[in-house]
Symmetry: C2
């Protein structure tokens, strides 16, 4: 109920749009070379300063003649003209075409004085000796001649202000001889990420001191460029008031708009708030839209006129969502660029979604295209969300600022405050994060496996979420993904087609040379060895649990007695290499893992068995191109297995 109270104090989203619209984002005029003007927007009308062509121009290879000399000529009775010279393109004519004469002329050449038309070479014959030409057709004045100014006449309006310059307009401006064009200036957008813990990508990271790489700076900077702005990165600002003030003021002096992001801790937000209040003008604090609560809008003193300021949320998906919804349209407006046509996609909810906060929600979602499987082909068949050729939409909301959400979500659905429930199959409009975003060709989930990782490299734009075998099968049963990957021997629904699979050797990854001489699961139970395990969704964990259960039966003990005796049995990590990496780092004596991983990391390995990995298809999607591509890749898995110790075809 805390939230309900809070969002009543937040500004309506319309106020945020208005506040940003009231800011001045620059957008004057600058002059750029025509060669570099693609994608820019004309700031002024361009009138032609010259005629195009600048002279009466032959538009055929042939002979320049006086039309009246050819009157009545035809195949049977050609006109006979004296050849008095020739005119080439790019040269000034040095002949005059008098009555009864003709001059050879090439396409693009200047019409010689006296001539008013051109007969194409195919309608003529040259007499022997090249001193006469026979014209086998009658001409009218102007035939095959482009008069000076016929294409563009000097003084004509050619392009208006607001015209976006594509190769076509650049071609027309080339014809006018224009070297530089006046275009709308790109707003300069300063980007300040805040947080003492941030390190720019490529820098050295001290994880023990809580440092993390800065995600928002590059994400927001490239999103600014996509919207037509010029992004300028500033050094990270810590929570210190003087430092924050210095960096924000510097950015305000140099830029039209300053964007800050990254402050998730309350103290940093307080500091920024104080800087804007004291060195500028705070228009709005917090917007009644999830995730707009931490949003700030205002002005910052600096330079000749104040700079616009917007504070974005700290989590990457939230920052990109708020940028896309509130800031990008203002930048495009300033540059004169139209809203991109591909910014939205219509789809249907793949699952139901409940949300009771009573606040408008910009819900991050992923897309999957429903394909033409046997279910999909049945008229009206399948579930509500299963109509053929639909784009299905599923919420992606990990919270906690996961950066992987950036690539697992394709855009947002704008859910009104009063909507508490979206049914599966309900139509929604997805606002894509970028116009370039397109749904993945394949959406699959399940076990984490190095052979699978290599197979995915052969597919065109797949999306794969390593959620483990159990969660993969659960989602496949719900019908959202195209495919799932299962390790071990789980129960598989009858209608899930097995596209193929392979077998992998699993066991315990131990330090190089196996210094503790580990030989089996019993060693973990009986000796003081520290294990790193995998989570219960993982197929590897199931294999280990089965081995523990077998040992328990052998010893007539309970499974629980044995697992309680294993130090680290409950200590689970995320990915298939993670336990091995803990062993490599000296943090454990054994890690649940694969022979292939041990080999890759030059560690020792204690084999405990083999397990099958199977790739399963959603029956509604077996005709989908991405699924067919996966099938082909799995059928050709052998070439991938050769590089992976402990792998063999199923």
């Amino acid at each position: 109920m805390t939230d309900r109270k809070e969002f009543r104090d937040l500004a309506p989203p319309e106020d945020a749009h208005e506040a940003i619209a009231s800011l001045d984002l620059g957008g004057g005029t600058e002059t750029v070379p025509l060669r570099e003007a693609r994608g820019r927007v004309l700031a002024e009308r361009v009138d032609a300063e010259l005629d195009v062509p600048g002279f009466d121009r032959a538009s055929m290879d042939g002979y320049a003649v006086r039309a009246r000399d050819t009157f009545g000529a035809d195949e049977a009775d050609p006109a006979e003209l004296d050849l008095v010279g020739e005119v080439h393109a790019g040269a000034e004519p040095d002949v005059t075409v008098e009555e009864g004469t003709a001059a050879e002329i090439s396409t693009g050449a200047v019409m010689p004085p006296g001539a008013d038309s051109v007969v194409m070479v195919e309608k003529t014959d040259e007499a022997e000796g090249n001193d006469e030409v026979f014209v086998r057709t009658s001409l009218a004045p102007g035939d095959n001649v482009m008069l000076a100014g016929a294409d563009v006449a000097a003084g004509e309006r050619t392009l208006g202000p607001g015209t976006e310059l594509t190769p076509r307009e650049i071609g027309l401006l080339s014809a006018l001889g224009i070297e530089e064009v006046p275009v709308r200036a790109k707003p300069r957008v300063g980007i300040v990420s805040t947080g003492d813990e941030l390190v720019r990508p490529g820098g050295d990271l001290n994880s023990d001191a809580g440092q993390i790489y800065d995600v928002n700076s590059y994400t927001v900077a490239t999103a600014v460029e996509e919207a037509g702005g010029e992004a300028v990165l500033y050094p990270h600002a810590g929570d210190d008031y003087e430092e924050m003030e210095r960096i924000l003021t510097e950015a305000a002096e140099e830029c039209d708009l300053v964007l800050s992001s990254g402050s998730t801790s309350a103290s940093a937000v307080d500091v920024i708030y104080r800087v804007i209040e004291e060195r500028g003008d705070l228009l709005l604090h917090g917007v009644a839209v999830k995730p707009g609560k931490p949003m700030l809008i205002g002005r910052l003193d600096g330079g000749d006129s104040p700079s616009a300021y917007v504070g974005l949320p700290g989590y990457p998906v939230s920052a990109l969502t708020i940028f896309r919804t509130f800031v990008a349209p203002a930048i495009r407006e300033a540059t004169g660029l139209p809203e991109p046509r591909t910014a939205t996609v219509d789809g249907r909810m793949a699952v139901e979604e409940r949300y009771g906060e009573g606040r408008r929600r910009l819900m991050p979602v992923g897309l999957v295209e429903d394909g033409a499987g046997p279910e999909g082909q049945r008229a009206g068949g399948g579930n509500a969300a299963g109509a053929r050729g639909d784009t299905l939409v599923y919420p992606v909301d990990k919270g906690s600022g996961a950066t992987t959400s950036l690539v697992e979500a394709d855009g947002i659905v704008d859910v009104p405050p009063e909507t508490e429930y979206l049914a599966a199959g309900e139509s929604v409009e997805v606002q894509l994060f970028s116009p370039d975003v397109r749904p993945p060709s394949l959406y699959a989930v399940g076990e984490d496996d190095p052979a699978l990782s290599r197979l995915l490299d052969r597919l065109d734009r797949p999306r794969y979420l390593s959620l483990g075998t159990r969660e993969g099968l659960r989602r496949l049963r719900n019908g959202v993904p195209d495919a799932a990957v299962a390790a071990g021997d789980p129960e598989i629904a009858a209608d899930h087609e097995v596209l193929g699979g392979w077998t992998r050797e699993w066991g315990l990854v131990v330090p190089e040379g196996n210094p503790n001489d580990v030989s089996d699961v019993a060693a973990l139970v009986d000796r003081d060895l520290r294990l790193i395990n995998r989570g219960t969704d993982s197929g590897l964990r199931t294999a280990l649990d089965d081995a523990v259960a077998a040992l328990a039966e052998e010893r007539d003990a309970s499974r629980r007695e044995l697992t309680d005796a294993i130090d680290g049995y409950e200590l689970t990590v995320k990915a298939h290499e993670s336990p091995a990496r803990k062993v490599l780092a000296g943090e454990a004596d054994a890690g649940l893992g694969l022979r292939a991983t041990a080999a890759k990391l030059d560690l020792g390995f204690v084999s405990l068995g083999e397990q099958d990995v199977r790739v399963l298809a959603n029956p509604d999607r077996t005709g989908k191109a991405g699924v067919e591509g996966l099938r082909t890749a799995v059928e050709n898995v052998e070439s991938v297995l050769a590089d992976l110790p402990g792998y063999r075809p199923a």
Copy 2:
């Protein structure tokens, strides 16, 4: 019939696609800074080299505690813990959380040793003296903590080869600390325009020597960049064999693909042909598609391996059409970029089109959006092409290489060889010249007028063709344009709504100071003065003809007698300023024109009268936004008229 014979020798279009596909366009791997990687395509899989986050991370502002110390705590019975210190984001913890203690922690900070969960600050109270904290809730281990590697674990597959890098992917790669990424190299495309007559925009032009500005170099270069290639411009090559060979060889040594264009004369084509034959390998010459007859495909020796070579037609629209159809897909394929989603638009033919050459035709077309006028709103009303909300498609084919066709056409319709007739209303698919192309908001035609030119500046993306009053009214009657502009007093169809208009003063533009003392039309008839006239479509011409007719009546002479007596009466030029500019250049004694033009060019003016200019709307389109914008602009025309001598409100 000549054509019919010729195109039988031309290669089928499929062969051209195959020939280009057989060429090697480079497309290796290069490494670019992550900051500059937007729009590029990953060349290799990227696996995580580190855990994200790299440490167990607090995801709330609050207190780091041992969960078991809070078991059973609630509002009524809070747990009481000793406060032992604080941990900030970006700092290494210097405290350990022992049993019964807590440490203040900020979002993003490293969990201190001993703590396994975070209680949010809102669920706590600090005791006076700040040495104790009361926790009003029970926690489970892991609450409000993001474990190391929970977002991305070291060793995980994060992005696959072929992934296009948008801000989202750049964000994820930032989180991994990646500074540089391996991407597909952009093919280097050398551009060689041929023709002795070409001058690059910005250079000095000698029109007397038949020089013209080079249109294709910048058009093709920017189209190459749009397709994802890197364009390199080479100097123009003339028709000389040695020069052509030198430039093409240099381009082949430095580029993956060489594109030539511009040779419209047979001799230049012959020279290029010989260079490719002798210094390379000609795969194909001429494609059975209009306008592909002059197309060449081959290889050029140079560097370590031969360069690909494609010769484009010389006319700009043809060059862009052939580039777009045959070359751009190959460049995109080499860069790994997908075909743009907005490259096509569905529409209906606005007029019928007949074409009997029996050759596949890439027909340049313009687009106009049918709006919501009274006719459009009638269910099934209007003509076949007039259904509401349609995109109407009309052929644009000036031939003769007009550069204005570049901006008057929006794309092409690919018409199969066997199609001889497209009916009005027939559905067609338009392949846009660039994904950025969108139909104009307003498509209008008619009289050329400086007040109109300024009004158009106030509209968003209008297209206006200055074809004169007569042609403008004819096209409006055919129902294709949204609006027409008529000068003088022509007959106007009853259903064409007059949006408004103004009045302009017309007459004879003469040299400054009127040295010949011209005072009226009679001077042109009776004295030896040279006139420059406008064409019969022009409203100005109609006004002059009416004045001549009045004089003829006064003198009881025939109109023809008088016009025969005017030197230059038949000498017509294109635009409203053109006659005045001839006078300015000393090529005539008088030009038909406007007082406003005489004032602009500092010339003398002999007034012959005033005429109305009226703006008319297509009745099917009166609800269209672009037409409404035009109406508003015309209603506010007065502000524009103030700057134009001889103009006044109607």
